[in-house]
């Protein structure tokens, strides 16, 4: 009898175990690969995903590529029909090409089935990371990581009485967070070549990178607030007079002046990581960089905590205030054989408590439930700045021909700003010509 009893209990136990297993895992445990850029948030995502692995039984692998090579490598992967990535956290501008060439899986049906509503996410991120064509409810990604260009500054330097006095006598106002780009340049100029604690310091680290997208992101960040438009809002793809408007010219001239007057020496090819290096090593007072850098700065032993502050991109001369959008959505790669498991991951990732944990680990959640939580703005010193910045974003072209459009602006901007060739007007006229040619090839006219 005992023997029999034992057997049935064991049997029941095994059955229960199997049932629980069946409930939490899908038909088959898969090995999923997620592709993203190699940066702090990616490491946080690895930690976050442990929860998914435990709950789903799938195994997560990661392929992270640093920013300067990210677009290169991943677009190469998509174009070659590679099966490396099942999930892709691809840059916002790829969405047009990936959608039109069928490289991402369309997510509308999945969202409907799982009750994931795009209205639950920050509107700018939905437009920026998920939609193609823009402004239509066709979704190719779930907003995964909100990001935007903003500024961090050396609060400790700003608060030195002797510097405050000197600044006030020179400029007739307090040394504080700039409200306009002109003020920002004054501050950067004030710190340039100044001796602080025995070290020579410089004004502002800005984006000047040539190879991928750096200088375009930086210059656009300024140009938007000066009144730059990508096209005639009434007539798509009409560029003349918008891209190269007088306002745009002024904006690009400003960016060059800022580079000439106030960037640290040797920052002719600087993007995210170079600027972080310059800031963390105490070389600069101001740093232009994406919001993703702020958790790292805040935790830095040398410049972190009270020593640093954050502010949204200041307004241009006309009072308009915009910032360059960064960030990415998460998509399922069409070439993947494991789309079901990949969708499971997205479903898991979209849950509010996972998104809250995401923010805790240093990932900028795009879920409104997280960022609109009353405690959010105070949860980190940079949280409010992130919210302010996300409210004023604009993004580069997300057309299928984005890579060619970007190459053109990289070249024109770098030639003018860093190499000092020609005038701002010539650079922007050239850009109009380049872009027109590209759109012409695409049959847009």
């Amino acid at each position: 009898m005992t023997h029999c009893y034992f057997k049935s209990v064991l049997g029941a136990g095994v059955a229960t175990a199997l049932l629980t297993l069946g409930a939490t895992t899908s038909a088959q445990a898969e090995d999923l690969t997620l592709c993203w850029a190699s940066w702090d948030p990616a490491n946080a995502l690895v930690a976050l995903s442990k929860d998914f692995e435990a709950k789903s039984g799938h195994k997560m692998s990661f392929e992270f590529v640093p920013w300067p090579n990210f677009a290169d490598r991943m677009l190469n992967e998509l174009n070659s029909g590679g099966k490396l990535c099942d999930l892709m956290i691809g840059d916002s501008q790829w969405i047009g090409g990936a959608a039109e060439n069928g490289q991402y899986v369309k997510l509308n049906d999945f969202f409907d089935k799982e009750g994931i509503k795009m209205s639950d996410f920050i509107p700018a991120t939905v437009t920026g990371y998920a939609e193609w064509p823009k402004g239509t409810p066709n979704y190719w990604a779930l907003p995964a990581f909100g990001d935007v260009v903003g500024w961090s500054y050396r609060k400790d330097w700003f608060s030195r009485p002797e510097l405050q006095t000197e600044f006030k006598t020179k400029y007739g106002r307090d040394l504080t967070v700039p409200r306009t780009l002109a003020e920002l340049k004054d501050i950067a100029g004030f710190f340039q070549d100044r001796e602080i604690d025995g070290n020579k310091v410089y004004g502002a680290a800005i984006y000047t990178e040539r190879g991928s997208e750096g200088i375009t992101m930086g210059a656009m960040d300024v140009l938007y607030s000066y009144g730059f438009e990508y096209q005639n809002p009434a007539k798509p793809y009409e560029l003349e007079g918008y891209v190269n408007s007088d306002k745009s010219v002024k904006g690009l001239e400003f960016y060059k002046e800022l580079y000439n007057c106030c960037a640290p020496p040797g920052s002719s090819d600087a993007y995210m990581s170079e600027n972080i290096d310059a800031y963390k090593s105490g070389q600069v007072a101001l740093q232009m960089n994406f919001a993703f850098t702020w958790p790292g700065i805040n935790a830095d032993p040398k410049v972190g905590g009270d020593k640093s502050g954050y502010f949204a991109n200041p307004a241009g001369p006309g009072g308009a205030q915009f910032a360059q959008l960064g960030g990415q959505g998460i998509s399922v790669v069409a070439a993947s054989d494991k789309q079901d498991a990949a969708l499971e991951y997205i479903k898991w990732f979209a849950q509010p408590d996972i998104q809250a944990k995401w923010w805790q680990l240093g990932g900028y959640s795009a879920l409104r439930a997280v960022v609109e939580d009353p405690g959010f703005a105070k949860s980190q010193p940079y949280a409010q700045t992130f919210l302010d910045s996300m409210a004023i974003v604009k993004d580069f072209w997300a057309e299928p021909s984005y890579a060619s459009l970007l190459q053109a602006s990289q070249k024109r901007f770098h030639n003018y700003v860093v190499a000092g060739q020609g005038t701002a007007k010539e650079a922007l006229d050239g850009l109009v010509a380049d872009w027109t040619e590209i759109f012409d090839d695409e049959g847009k006219y």
């Binding site: 690969t33 592709c35 190699s38 940066w39 702090d40 490491n43 946080a44 690895v46 930690a47 392929e63 590529v65 640093p66 300067p68 090579n69 490598r73 190469n76 992967e77 070659s80 029909g81 590679g82 490396l84 990535c85 070290n199 995210m272 990581s273 170079e274 972080i276 290096d277 963390k280 090593s281 070389q283 850098t293 958790p295 790292g296 700065i297 935790a299 032993p301 040398k302 805790q360 680990l361 240093g362």
Partner: protein, 313 residues
């Protein structure tokens, strides 16, 4: 030495020449020493300005090279308890926890697989072809030298366009096999040329004797010629290996997750925020070690390899 010779330089000449050469060697080795030195610096020492010549060495760069780290919430750190290993301690010091191994070992072993795989294949094919060319009196000379050169004249980027398409349709993209075949093809011309030179030097009489003894041509090849050609094969192999080991352009365009080798990987090692120079330096140092050993061991054969065998002893 004791007897006077007009071609033997005087003591003063030697001193002068020696001083200049040593001076140059010291200058030229400095960047290399700086790379090795940086691999033992902490990230903040590495980007200190002015640059630090003296620093307290740490293995942080190597730890960072082999791990991925993540900033953990305080509860998570508490839950983990005290660090148990020396590398845990290094990482925790900065408020991080080790999330897992980095991909460096994979990249390094890919370099090994592809490097050695293509070298072996190249030597097998190359020796056979070189033997045939050597013993069957193909009119070679300068025309062939030029033909062989021409296969290496194309910029790799230009060759990569059709290779990319070809690999895509054959499913060879990002596979070890694809890279092995590609590197073999690129190296083959060099290998055939070098090996032919070595086999030419083996007297044909040995084989003829073997043939008279009743060996087949094939037996004569592997029992007589191969053992004689071993030194030549070894030094040819080194050059195939060095090329495959350091190659970047094809690797960056044709590999990604599975078969990526170390050269495209090392420059992309990012730490917390900026580029993690100590980890990059550590990767560069470890990656240099094998070729450095080969260079020192085989320095006598260096010349012939780098010049396509055009320079004879």
């Amino acid at each position: 030495m004791s007897s006077y010779s007009v071609t033997e330089p005087s003591g003063r000449q030697k001193l002068f020449a020696g001083t200049l050469v040593i001076l140059y060697a010291l200058i030229t080795i400095l960047p290399l020493l700086w790379i090795i030195g940086t691999s033992f610096k902490s990230p903040s020492d590495a980007i200190a300005y002015p640059p630090k010549t003296f620093f307290s060495p740490t293995l942080e760069g190597y730890v960072n090279l082999f791990t991925t780290r993540t900033r953990a919430t305080e509860e998570d750190v508490k839950a983990l308890g005290e660090p148990t290993t020396w590398y845990d301690r290094i990482v925790r010091k900065d408020g991080f926890v080790i999330a897992g191994p980095s991909r460096f070992m994979e990249r390094f072993s890919n370099s090994m697989i592809i490097g050695f795989g293509s070298t072996v294949l190249c030597i097998v094919l190359g020796t056979a072809a070189a033997y045939a060319f050597s013993r069957f009196k193909v009119p070679l000379k300068d025309d062939l030298l030029f033909f062989i050169l021409s296969t290496r004249m194309m910029p790799p980027i230009a060759v990569a366009i059709p290779i990319f398409l070809m690999f895509r349709s054959l499913g060879l993209n990002d596979t070890h096999l694809g890279m092995i075949l590609l590197y073999t093809a690129v190296n083959l011309s060099l290998a055939v040329w070098l090996l032919k030179g070595f086999i030419d030097e083996i007297p044909i009489e040995y084989e003829e004797a073997a043939l008279i003894d009743g060996y087949t041509r094939f037996q004569a090849f592997y029992k007589v010629v191969l053992p004689q050609a071993m030194t030549g094969i070894a030094s040819t192999a080194i050059f195939c290996l060095i090329f495959a080991w350091n190659e970047y352009a094809f690797a960056v365009l044709l590999t990604s997750g599975t078969a990526q080798t170390a050269p495209p990987f090392i420059p992309t090692i990012i730490g917390v925020g900026g580029q993690d120079w100590p980890a990059v330096a550590a990767g560069a140092t470890l990656f240099l070690v094998p070729v450095m050993i080969f260079t020192i061991v085989l320095r006598k054969h260096l010349l012939r390899g780098i010049t396509f065998g055009a320079v004879r002893k």
